[in-house]
């Protein structure tokens, strides 16, 4: 299917043309950015629509000896997240970003191309290359504002993600040495003969490499620093996409190459759920003490990613559906929260929670969106967060992780406390007059669009669930995925 390659090439071409437009044709910069984002949205919808019978696109027409791109419902979900988040963020940052405009858009487009490449490719080394592309460009975005904290966050992010990449590279090399091929389907076929000890060692390297990038508890300390001083629209893409593409790659490698029964036998499912439970408890507690708004949202992102890990590591069909639905919901909810924080920062450079005291009376609609998104992320009934969390709790109970279900409910109240703290400061009366720079329509429209999605997906969950219900068929038993990739 032709559009699968265009999803990766179009952002790259736009990034290169922006590079040229910096020097020669200066004035076509904004129309180029907006038009390519709109074309990209149309392309993504085209690919998502025919993602159900998964189709394979082999780059260079080398059927199985070259690199193949595969569009299946799981990657279709991620393309849906890119489609939902990318256009609002681009429209938002055209007005929001003042310094280094050209570099910001070059890096955003290259990062999106890297994530789309990671999500679509069915080749292990290609997955590593696109992982490197997306993490290097997102590290550049962290350092964009060149403040002291920003540069330090970028340095920590670079060190940690390169260390993770080297472990993934070591595992890829050993997989090639054992199986002789790099195509994911052929590797999983060859992996059946490999003894248990070596297979679990390889799995350990993969898990360690990807967990370093996702940032579960013992390895999370670098993450909040990258959120502190980076341009806030980038935080939307980072927490919505960059961390999740590492989760995607981990799940694809584990479920397709190692297979669900090997995961169960080696006990990784129990470890994963346990690790997730610890992560979100500690993350919630840490989030409680934060005064900086971005750091608070960063810790809450770590907690939400832990919910997703629990959902995906439960290993049943319900768990997969719940986990994937929570990936979609978290991307939208966190996106809204970060966009509202960006508007507060844009209008009166508010960074800490105290600075946004009494802003509700100045921005009634935006504060309402903030309240909706934070209630959704906590998981209260009418909103989308509740449904996905409920699916995860149900799946955890079904497959016997009673302690995980119990702690998720405890975690809900923990997160309720620190979000309420923010909402209360938002709505407390503030006597002193605040000089406010009015955010234009181009800033508030994307925020309201994402905020309304919180409600729409909450009230009508069948809209995204139509796509998400098809995911487990190609993930749980990897035979289906392999048949399509090899047969084709």
């Amino acid at each position: 299917m032709e559009a699968a390659v265009w999803v990766i090439i179009l952002p790259l071409l736009t990034a290169f043309f922006i590079g040229i437009s910096k020097v020669y044709v200066k004035k076509i910069f904004v129309p180029l950015v907006i038009s390519s984002a709109i074309i990209y949205l149309y392309l993504l919808i085209l690919v998502i629509n025919n993602s159900y019978p998964p189709n394979v696109y082999s780059v260079g027409a080398w059927r199985l000896i070259g690199i193949n791109l595969m569009v299946d419902p799981f990657s279709g979900l991620f393309l849906l997240i890119i489609a939902l988040l990318f256009l609002p963020v681009i429209i938002f940052s055209v007005k929001y970003i003042k310094s280094y405009k050209h570099e910001y858009f070059i890096f955003t487009y290259i990062m999106t191309a890297g994530i789309a490449g990671m999500v679509l490719t069915a080749d292990l080394f290609n997955l590593y290359v696109f992982l490197e592309v997306s993490s290097l460009s997102s590290c550049a975005l962290v350092a964009l504002k060149k403040t002291n904290k920003g540069l330090e966050g970028a340095y920590k992010y670079l060190v940690m993600s390169t260390l993770g990449s080297f472990f993934i590279l070591l595992a890829t090399i050993l997989t090639y040495y054992l199986t002789g091929t790099l195509n994911i389907a052929e590797i999983s076929l060859e992996f059946n003969e490999i003894p248990f000890k070596i297979k679990s060692a390889l799995m350990a390297f993969f898990v360690f490499g990807y967990v370093l990038k996702i940032g579960l508890i013992p390895l999370h300390f670098w993450l909040p620093d990258t959120y502190e001083d980076s341009p806030i629209p980038y935080n939307v893409l980072s927490s919505g996409l960059v961390m999740k593409s590492a989760v995607y790659a981990l799940i694809k490698v584990l479920y397709i190459i190692f297979g669900i029964d090997f995961l169960d036998k080696s006990g990784l499912l129990q470890i994963g759920v346990f690790w997730g439970v610890i992560t979100f408890i500690v993350a919630h507690l840490l989030a409680f003490q934060q005064s900086n708004l971005s750091r608070l949202l960063a810790y809450s992102s770590i907690a939400q990613i832990a919910y997703i890990m629990i959902g995906l590591f439960v290993g049943t069909e319900g768990g997969l559906i719940g986990g994937n639905f929570h990936i979609l919901n978290h991307a939208i909810m966190k996106g809204t929260l970060f966009l509202v924080t960006a508007i507060f920062y844009y209008s009166l450079s508010a960074v800490n929670i105290e600075d946004i005291k009494g802003l509700a009376y100045k921005f009634p609609i935006l504060s309402f969106t903030f309240v909706v998104a934070s209630l959704a992320i906590v998981g209260l009934p009418p909103f989308n967060g509740f449904i996905s969390k409920w699916l995860i709790v149900e799946a955890a109970l079904e497959s016997g992780f009673v302690y995980a279900a119990f702690f998720i409910l405890v975690g809900t109240f923990l997160s309720l406390t620190y979000y309420l703290k923010v909402i209360i400061t938002l709505y407390t009366k503030n006597d002193k007059e605040i000089v406010v720079e009015e955010p234009g329509l181009s800033l508030s429209l994307p925020t309201i669009f994402l905020g309304s999605l919180c409600i729409v997906f909450g009230v009508v969950p069948s809209l995204p669930l139509r796509l998400i219900n098809k995911i487990p068929t190609f993930l749980l038993d990897n035979g289906e995925y392999i048949r399509v990739l090899l047969g084709g």
Partner: protein, 240 residues
């Protein structure tokens, strides 16, 4: 008290690394003697049909630029991102490389040296599919010319000879050229980056003009890497 703390911290780290080493040793030992039926069907295919399918003598280049050309596209993007990061980290004020002022001998030899570097770089790029080398290595050798100028004649002269904007634009043109040659595959009805499969005239192997699109991909990557590394080097020098 502090000394014990420092020693215990150091021992903890050494213990961690030694345990990782032992773990790796067992794994490598197992993998090495497990390797009974060394499955190399993919590389045997590349070796046996490589020359006919892609026309390139150097199988590594045919793997890099035809079988797995998508990797090279991703890798060229990594290089472009690194060049863009370094070019925007640089403050406006220039700072010359502090060091000993070079004597006349150095500046004379660089003038003699530059044509040889240019020829070597061109050779590595154009003969990428016949001899070891290729776009990346040739590009780096060509990037050595502005680097030598920067060292011997200060940054201003090198910037005067190779304008920074020109370098940025030539880097982007190289990248866009690579993608457009890939799109050529789509125009001729086959898939993206299709060289061997698309009915592109492969010429007979061993000639200079052979191997279909691989030489052009090599040239594009050569331009891109040359300009990119010149930007990387000059911005590292200029960082005050």
């Amino acid at each position: 008290m502090n000394r014990i703390n420092v020693i215990s911290k150091k021992l903890y780290k050494i213990g961690l690394v030694v345990s990782l080493a032992i773990f790796l040793l067992f794994i490598f030992y197992d993998i090495h003697n497990l390797e009974s039926n060394s499955k190399r069907y993919l590389s045997d295919h590349y070796i046996s049909e490589g020359v006919q399918e892609t026309g390139a003598i150097n199988i590594v280049t045919s793997v890099l630029y035809d079988y797995r050309a998508f990797d090279t596209l991703g890798e060229a993007t990594v290089l472009l991102t690194a060049a863009a990061i370094l070019s925007f980290l640089v403050p406006i004020t220039k700072d010359k490389m502090r060091g000993t002022p070079f004597t006349i001998i150095v500046s004379q030899t660089t003038q003699v040296f530059i044509p040889f570097l240019a020829i070597l770089g061109m050779y590595l790029i154009f003969f990428g599919h016949l001899a070891p080398g290729g776009g990346f290595v040739g590009g780096v050798v060509i990037a050595l010319i502005p680097i030598l100028l920067t060292i011997t004649y200060r940054v201003e002269f090198s910037e005067y000879k190779f304008k920074p904007d020109k370098k940025k634009v030539s880097e982007d043109i190289g990248a866009i050229g690579f993608v457009l040659i890939g799109l050529l595959g789509i125009l001729t009805g086959s898939n993206f980056l299709a060289n061997g499969q698309a009915n592109v005239s492969l010429g007979d192997a061993g000639e200079l003009i052979s191997a279909g699109l691989i030489p052009y991909l090599n040239i594009m990557i050569g331009i891109k890497v040359g300009a990119g590394l010149a930007i990387i080097f000059n911005s590292l020098i200029k960082e005050k």
